[in-house]
Structure formats: structure tokens, C-alpha cells
């Protein structure tokens, strides 16, 4: 009889990580295609439609880039937390708090010029999102509360707080009682680049990506973070400031997600309303896990997942595939990558059962 012999590799295969990723992607797409076929939707047409819809034209690529911006920022934050083995599931709520913070500035100071208002919004979004991440950190460090649950509950609280604001004190007086704030004045809106639909938020992405990369590569704190992530007990033993790192990491995580919220509220919707919540925080978890910590790979993964969302709309429009299909694909991709990573870390061979 044969059995599988599994040995851990001395060093994980590097180039095969990419192979695994693409293999997983292909497998997920195949399973999704089968599911479509089972529902009598033509699978090959669907896959072609998915790709074309996402990447098939300049306009499509532009759509993907626009969508990738908030996903990128949230993912960057979540990835930082993951590096320290902190499971920040709260990116969604931190995103909302950032939007709320920025909106406060926009509504309070509509008449100030843009070079005062926009930095103000940037700052409040950063702080608001950061605080929303910091509170779970404190609860974790001083009361040993599991951050997975706390950050998740904070998502619900944030969304309900947003509801309270737009149905109540911040409701727009001219929108016939619908739950939304006043439209932002032009000084509070992050503008579009030239004639494209892209907004200047892309600069924020580049800035954050570079800043984080420098942080991890060249600063001491960054090094401590990486080291602590690999082996928390050893790091503590070596005297690394675990507490401070946790707080920093969750604050940063929340702050970056907060910036994503600021951009959505300011540039894409030009006001605050409940529909700003579309699940970027959860997609960010998928991206962060797929891309580990390299800002470039996070960028690519964000772009791909944004493409998934954009392409899916075409599937909906042309093939009447229900909207829930997106969740299936995201979940499948994550699971297959997880399973596939096994082959990167372990060597499998056949051997005889003794």
C-alpha cells in the first residue's frame, strides 16, 4: 500500500509561490465555471466575459483602478496587522470611521479653501480610523480580549453609527429625507485626474505603499515588527516592545482603512451615505493574505480583485448571474491559495507503508 510522505521543506520554494497562486486562481475559476455550467450558464462565455469586462478595454482597466484604490489602502493596513499575527477583521468599520471623520470636516468647514479642507479631512480620517483600530488593540493588550471578535463587532457598531448620523443629525435637508448628508462643497472633493475617471487618491496609494515599504525595510521599528511577527515569544524574550507594536500596527491599519473611507466619501460619492459600505474591508483580508506584505504584490492583488468585482457586473448584465457569485469566487480563491500554499512549504512524495 502506498501512502503520502510529507516533509517540511528547509526553505519554502520562492518562485513556486507565484505558481501556486496562479494554480489556485485557475482552480477557483474552473470550479466557478462548473458551478455556472450547472446552472445552465455557458461557462466559457462567462470566463471570457469576466476577463473582458475587467481588463478588456482601457475603460475597464480604468474602472478596475478606481475600485482598486480603496481595496489597496484597506489591504495594506490589514497586511501590516497580519504580519504581527494580529487578525484585524475590522477594516470595514475603520473604513467607515475614516469616512465619518472626513465628513465631519467637510460639513463643518464647507467654505474654507481646498488646501485647508482636504488636509483636514485626511488628518481626521487618519485619526478616526486609527482610533477605531486602537481601541481593540488596547482591549487585546490589557484585557486579553480576542481581537478577531472585537474588531468584527466594531464593524457592526461603526455601520450603525453611520446610520444614526445620516438618519439623524447629519441628514441632508434637501434630499427629501433620504439618509445621506449634504453634498460636499467642491473644496472637500478630491478631484479627478484630467479627463479620466481616476481621482488623485491614487497618489495616496502610492505614498502609503512607498512609506510602508520604507518603514519595513529601513526603520528599526519596522524590523522589530517583522521579527516579532515571525516568533512572538522569542521576540518578547529578546525585549522587543510587543505592546507598542500591537498598538502601532492596529492604529496604522485602521488609519489606512480610514483613508480609503475618506476617498470614497469625498471623491466617489461626494457625500456620506450608507451605501459607502460595500465590503472592501473583507476583500482586504483576502488580498492581504494572498499578497503577504509586499506593497507591490498588494497592489497587483487589489487590482485583480477589483477586476473580479468589475467583471462580475458584466456577468450579471449579460448572463443574469446572481450577485452572490462574487462571494463564492473570493472564498474559493482564498481557500485554494491556502491549500496550495501547502505545496510551497511541504514536499509530498509517495512511499510504501511500512
Amino acid at each position: 500500500m502506498f501512502k503520502f510522505i510529507i516533509k517540511k521543506r528547509q526553505a519554502p520554494l520562492v518562485w513556486s509561490s507565484c505558481l501556486v497562486f496562479f494554480g489556485a486562481l485557475v482552480l477557483s475559476l474552473a470550479v466557478s465555471a462548473i458551478m455556472l455550467a450547472l446552472q445552465n450558464k455557458p461557462p466559457l462565455t462567462a470566463m471570457v466575459l469576466l476577463f473582458n469586462g475587467a481588463f478588456g478595454s482601457l475603460l475597464a482597466i480604468q474602472d478596475c483602478l478606481i475600485k482598486a484604490v480603496p481595496i489597496f489602502l484597506c489591504s495594506l493596513g490589514v497586511a501590516i496587522a497580519f504580519r504581527l499575527q494580529i487578525w484585524n477583521i475590522g477594516a470595514e468599520g475603520q473604513y467607515v470611521l475614516g469616512a465619518i471623520g472626513a465628513t465631519w470636516v467637510a460639513l463643518r468647514f464647507p467654505d474654507l479653501p481646498w488646501f485647508v479642507v482636504l488636509p483636514g479631512m485626511l488628518a481626521t480620517a487618519f485619526i478616526a480610523g486609527g482610533l477605531w483600530g486602537l481601541i481593540p488593540a488596547v482591549l487585546k493588550l490589557y484585557m486579553r480580549a480576542n481581537e478577531i471578535i472585537v474588531t468584527l463587532m466594531f464593524n457592526y457598531l461603526a455601520i450603525l453609527f453611520l446610520d444614526y448620523l445620516v438618519y439623524g443629525p447629519w441628514k441632508d435637508p434637501v434630499s427629501f429625507g433620504f439618509p445621506m448628508t449634504r453634498e460636499f462643497s467642491t473644496s472637500a472633493i478630491v478631484g479627478k485626474i484630467g479627463h479620466t475617471q481616476l481621482n488623485w487618491g491614487i497618489l495616496l496609494c502610492i505614498f502609503s505603499g512607498v512609506a510602508i515599504w520604507i518603514f519595513f525595510k529601513y526603520t528599526r521599528l519596522g524590523y522589530e515588527l517583522k521579527a516579532s511577527g515571525e516568533n512572538i515569544k522569542a521576540a518578547r524574550y529578546a525585549g522587543l516592545p510587543y505592546h507598542r507594536l500591537v498598538m502601532l500596527v492596529l492604529f496604522l491599519s485602521g488609519a489606512l482603512a480610514g483613508w480609503a473611507g475618506f476617498l470614497e466619501a469625498s471623491s466617489t460619492i461626494n457625500r456620506l451615505q450608507p451605501s459607502i459600505v460595500v465590503g472592501y474591508g473583507y476583500t482586504a483580508i483576502v488580498v492581504a493574505w494572498l499578497a503577504r506584505l509586499n506593497p507591490v504584490s498588494i497592489g497587483i492583488a487589489s487590482f485583480l480583485l477589483a477586476g473580479l468585482r468589475v467583471g462580475l457586473e458584466h456577468l450579471q448584465l449579460d448572463l443574469q448571474v446572481p450577485a452572490a457569485f462574487g462571494g463564492i469566487m473570493e472564498g474559493l480563491i482564498l481557500l485554494t491559495v491556502l491549500a496550495g500554499s501547502f505545496f510551497v512549504d511541504y514536499r509530498v512524495s509517495l512511499g510504501k507503508k511500512s
Binding site: 482591549l139 484585557m143 480580549a145 478577531i148 468584527l152 457592526y156 457598531l157 462571494g327
Partner: protein, 306 residues
């Protein structure tokens, strides 16, 4: 709020807490064996859908209930496969399972929205339903609530007195030593994942067979996550899980009755109550106790032995 509402509120708490109780008990079972399964929300949704569809096709609610559990176990099995065989990170696998499970349920369930299926109705227990005060709160519900009363003591006895139960606890507390002593740790963990997933699936099935007789997208509405939190609140003890689940059910029922009584508090703020309560309860539980009962090897994959 009117004091006359207290008894109906408690009764509502019991019923509202029942799906959460099933799920919490299931997750306790899984975590005791050392596996962290965050996919509870997804499993509940799949269980709910499977149960609903089975009820429609077979017309037998009891069979449908059991099938709901099977569907839950099946989905949990994917988590088991990824974590136990492919050494996948348990946290991420669980999250992926949630995303997949919810998406799958919503997708496959689309044709069934707006349809009715046979289910369970309140059946008062013969003698017990005459006891004043206790009766309307505990003994005037559908049969699945009564079944839920039986599971916690059974689980407690299982872990305390049976060899399998102790083996499972060993798999969760000191897997390497247990393995060295000859216990099949992987086997116990698989049992933990599958049986736990089964119970969680039952919790979901409760939602579509008894709590309502309907199916729509998002039926579980976050209950799965509450269950995971309640596992910690319960210190991994089935008895305390009961308290947690009914408490939580009570809060959800409470804020609605507060609205019905005509309060002026904005509903968004009232809706925060269950989640805020979960955080508070979690923080207080984790803070107070040293060695809270968490299985020591929870969430850690065991390297495959050579």
C-alpha cells in the same frame, strides 16, 4: 417598558437564542479539539439553505433538520481538509469559509426566496406547560428548542466522563504529548470539526425551519460571529453557553420591544445593543479569568509526523 412584557421577553429570549446556542455548542465542540473554525456564519447559512430546500422537497421537517446539519458538517469538512491535511492557517481558512459559505448560500438559494416550506411550530409540552411563569418561557416553544436543552448536559458529560471526550480534550490541550501516547490527534480533530460543523448547521437549520419558515439572503445576519464570541464568554463550557446564547437572544428581542413600546431612542443606536453587549461580555470574560479554559493548542496546526 411595561413589566407585563417581561415574560414574553424571556420567552422571546429563549427562542431567539436557540440558533445561537446550537452554533455556540458546535463551535465549542470544534475548539475543544484544538481547531478554530471561524466559518460559523457561512456554515449556518448553508445549513439553513439545505434544511429549507430539503423541507420543500421531502416535506419532512425532521429529516430536513438533520440534513441541514449534514450540510454544515460538509462545509466544515472543507475547513478540516485545508487545515488538517494542507496545514492551512486556521484563521484565514475559517474566514474564507465564511465568505464562501455565505456566497454559496446566497447564490444557490436565490430561486427559493419568497417561498414557503413546512417547518416546526410551537408545541407546548404536556405536563410542564402548566407551570406558571416557567412554562411560557421554556416549555411553550417548538420541538427544536427542547432538543437544544438536551445538548449542553450531554456535551458536558461527554467531555467529562467518556474516553472519547477526554481524548478530544487532549487533542486540544497537549496534542504532541497525546500523539506520543498513541492517540490519533488528527482523528479527534476531524471529529471535532465535523460534529461541531453539524451542530452549527443545525443552528442554521433552526432559522429556516422553526424561527421562520422562510429563506432569504443573509438569513443568519451575523449570528455566527456572535456564536464565536459566546464560546469565549462560555469559557468553552457548554453550560455557560446556554446563558450566553439566551442573554444575547434576549438583547435582540429587548431592543425591538423597546421600540414597540414607543421609545424615542433612534433605532440605529438600539440596534447597537447586541454588538456592544458582545464586546463587553467578551472583554469582561477574558479579563477576569486566568487560564480561561481555552484549549492550549487552539488554532495551532500540528506538523505532519514523519
Amino acid at each position: 417598558m411595561n413589566p407585563e412584557l417581561l415574560i414574553p421577553l424571556l420567552a422571546a429570549a429563549v427562542q431567539s437564542g436557540t440558533p445561537i446556542l446550537y452554533a455556540t455548542l458546535g463551535e465549542i465542540f470544534t475548539e475543544k479539539s484544538g481547531i478554530l473554525n471561524l466559518g460559523v456564519e457561512g456554515i449556518m447559512m448553508i445549513g439553513a439553505l439545505a434544511a429549507f430546500v430539503s423541507a420543500k422537497f421531502f416535506g419532512n421537517p425532521i429529516l430536513a433538520f438533520l440534513i441541514g446539519g449534514c450540510a454544515g458538517a460538509f462545509l466544515a469538512g472543507i475547513h478540516g481538509l485545508v487545515c488538517l491535511n494542507f496545514q492551512g492557517n486556521q484563521v484565514v481558512s475559517g474566514l474564507a469559509l465564511t465568505i464562501l459559505g455565505v456566497g454559496l448560500a446566497n447564490y444557490l438559494g436565490t430561486p427559493f426566496i419568497g417561498q414557503a416550506a413546512p417547518g416546526f411550530s410551537p408545541t407546548p409540552l404536556p405536563v410542564l406547560s402548566k407551570i406558571p411563569i416557567l412554562a411560557p418561557v421554556f416549555f411553550n416553544h417548538d420541538p427544536l428548542v427542547y432538543t437544544a436543552y438536551l445538548i449542553p448536559p450531554a456535551m458536558w458529560a461527554f467531555f467529562r466522563y467518556t474516553r472519547w471526550g477526554m481524548g478530544m480534550r487532549a487533542a486540544g490541550e497537549y496534542p504532541r504529548a497525546a500523539s506520543a501516547a498513541g492517540l490519533r490527534v488528527a482523528g479527534y480533530r476531524w471529529a471535532g470539526v465535523l460534529v461541531g460543523g453539524y451542530l452549527v448547521g443545525l443552528g442554521g437549520a433552526y432559522l429556516s425551519l422553526a424561527y421562520t419558515h422562510l429563506w432569504t439572503n443573509g438569513l443568519s445576519a451575523g449570528r455566527g460571529w456572535i456564536a464565536i464570541a459566546l464560546v469565549i464568554f462560555a469559557f468553552w463550557h457548554p453550560g455557560r453557553a446556554v446563558i450566553g446564547a439566551y442573554l444575547f437572544g434576549g438583547v435582540m428581542a429587548f431592543q425591538l420591544r423597546l421600540q414597540a413600546s414607543g421609545t424615542h431612542i433612534p433605532s440605529s443606536l438600539l440596534l447597537m445593543l447586541p454588538y456592544a453587549l458582545t464586546v463587553m461580555v467578551l472583554v469582561l470574560s477574558s479579563w477576569k479569568r486566568q487560564g480561561t479554559g481555552v484549549p492550549s493548542a487552539l488554532g495551532i496546526n500540528i506538523e505532519p509526523s514523519e
